[in-house]
Amino acid sequence: MRHNLTVEGPAFRLRPVAMEDAPFIHALRTDPERSRYIHRGAADLRGQQEWIEDYFARPGDYYFLIENRASGEREGTAGIYNIDAEKRCAEWGRWIVRAGSLAALESVCLVYRAGFERLGLKAMVCRTILENASAVAFHDSFGVERVRVLPNYFERDGRSMDAVEGRLSRARWNVLRANTLAKAARAATWVNGNAGPAAGVPA
């Protein structure tokens, strides 16, 4: 849906996806290396634009562009969706970061900050294809709890793949928050030229 939720970190920000992001998103989702474990992207730019139009009309769906705060360069995407208002739980995903970007860790921190601190969620789940070993390992390393395996969850090119569902509660995020944000802040010095976090950003 159209929203105005923006979350700033030391080097990157999440901002609402806009139609002008369509070419970047289309390129990202059709990159063979980046798209191996996600649903096939739109066949062409027009298809991506139509997807974004449909997304704008879909309530309870927050799609973000990951952006370098200093340069404005687009780094990737992420989304929070399938919000259960009663349970205060949502799924997050659409997490793709361009090759060579240093946004991975900070962007995930920003997603959790968006969900827990701005949307007031109590838990966030993510579903990762088991074959996507590096992404599964990332979530494990981050501290996400593995909840269950979803057999044949994802199909692509006629092949079914299992997924693992991970869950992070707000309580667990509160435990991980300080240490994880400190790592992101230190990593931001690489992006910001060893000058420390960008100005005006709270920890």
């Binding site: 991975a104 590096s134 390992a137 390393s141 981050f142 690489w190 992006v191 060893n194």
Partner: protein
């Protein structure tokens, strides 16, 4: 007899990688980010922190982009430390 600096750096890099990856790394092994599923992007960041602290260096994004495998890390470190 002092060890040549180059050999020490490679051994130290393998030792640090073993800490990060949580498994032994053999003397002739060359773990790579592309091939080792345990070398995820969070571990990668933690590895760079460890390298910075251990070798008292600060890396640039261009340096970090070269950290694809143990040998590549060692080569860059040898060049930086020799400079």
């Amino acid at each position: 007899m002092a060890q040549p600096v180059g050999i020490n750096i490679r051994a130290e890099v393998r030792g640090l990688l073993a800490l990060i990856l949580g498994r032994p790394v053999g003397d002739t092994e060359n773990p790579s980010r592309a091939d080792d599923p345990g070398w995820d992007s969070l571990k990668h960041i933690e590895m760079v922190f460890l390298l910075e602290d251990h070798f008292q260096l600060r890396f640039t994004p261009e340096d970090i982009a070269e950290f694809r495998d143990a040998d590549g890390i060692a080569r860059l470190l040898e060049a930086r430390l020799a400079a």
